[in-house]
Symmetry: C2
Subunit: 196 residues, 2 copies
């Protein structure tokens, strides 16, 4: 195996962090588990991160900008109307959860449940992610209202926050049931009642 | 100190389990942490529970029937209309979260995030709790519809599931922000849009 550059080691640690935290939970894994998953020597960890918590915050950021944000691009696609974009966004997210057998869930929600009382640096990261996520969904709702696709003229920011809260809850229930029923039900309620 | 009966030891372990799992997370504490919090010898643990997981399932049940269910009684009070009961229920739950400084959150949501992929016995317990909880909220929504207090004639079970999902999400956000804003916003959106 070719010698890894420092940049490559960091990338591997970030990716292994996302996978391992998603599967085992933050407190359910050790630094050793993460370096094993990354295929790098344990000693190299502390050249890149001060602590498991510091990797936690960086992995969360990596998960968001490299994975979840890709899916968010659906919300700005121009080949669909705003309401269609919203529906496609949640349908794609449902399909992705089905693909991984309704395990792992959303790293944002998981870290919020596990760490928001214990890690200020992770809580700040989570806050920023929710704000950005909510803002993008609100923008799409606003566009759908302007296009006359949604009856409700309620505040889009307020609607977006409620919708994403309900999505996080539905993801939890899908993981418990190991089935897409709670996610399908979320989508149906969203488009027949809240955003009809 | 008087010698504790076997029943008392079990009760102490259940209560210490609820407190410790709520504060530190399931994977963030050891059996020793729980017996210390309960003030009982570590050796007594395995007379009562086969494993930390078995205590987890029993503590969840205890949390639900002894604490959370008390609050659910609001939903059947006869001195308020059904819609008022729903509002009071979420307002009381908000006040309770404020009292504990928006820490800990809901043990049901936390265990779902942390354990639904790893513990079938806890997943089954969580499923039963959600079903019962959702059923009681649905009953109240149905009564409010029958009393003409809610415009929407949407399926009460579907509405209840959506509302509780959004509540779980709002609790997560309140813990991140350490403020009641997400819970107040949840209540406002619920009663001005979904259940208006």
């Amino acid at each position: 195996m070719a010698r890894l550059s420092s940049h490559d080691v960091r990338e591997r640690l970030l990716e292994a962090g996302v996978r391992t935290f998603s599967k085992a939970g933050f407190n359910g894994c050790s630094v050793q588990d993460i370096t094993d998953a990354a295929g790098v020597p344990k000693g190299s960890f502390y050249n890149h991160f001060e602590s498991k918590e510091a990797l936690g915050a960086a992995a969360l950021q990596h998960y968001w900008t490299d994975g979840a944000c890709d899916q968010l691009k659906i919300l700005t696609r121009l080949d669909m109307s705003p309401r269609e974009r919203l529906r496609t966004y949640f349908e794609e997210a449902t399909a992705e959860m089905a693909q991984i057998g309704f395990t792992c869930g959303c790293l944002v929600g998981n870290m919020a449940a596990e760490l928001s009382d214990h890690s200020p640096i992770i809580a700040i990261q989570l806050s920023a992610i929710f704000l950005g996520w909510s803002g993008q969904v609100a923008e799409c709702i606003r566009a759908a209202q302007a296009a006359g696709e949604i009856e409700s003229n309620a505040d889009p920011d307020q609607l977006a926050a409620f919708v994403l809260n309900a999505w996080e809850g539905a993801v939890l229930r899908a993981r418990i049931e190991k089935a897409d029923r709670p996610l399908r039900q979320f989508i149906q309620t969203l488009f027949t009642i809240l955003l009809r």
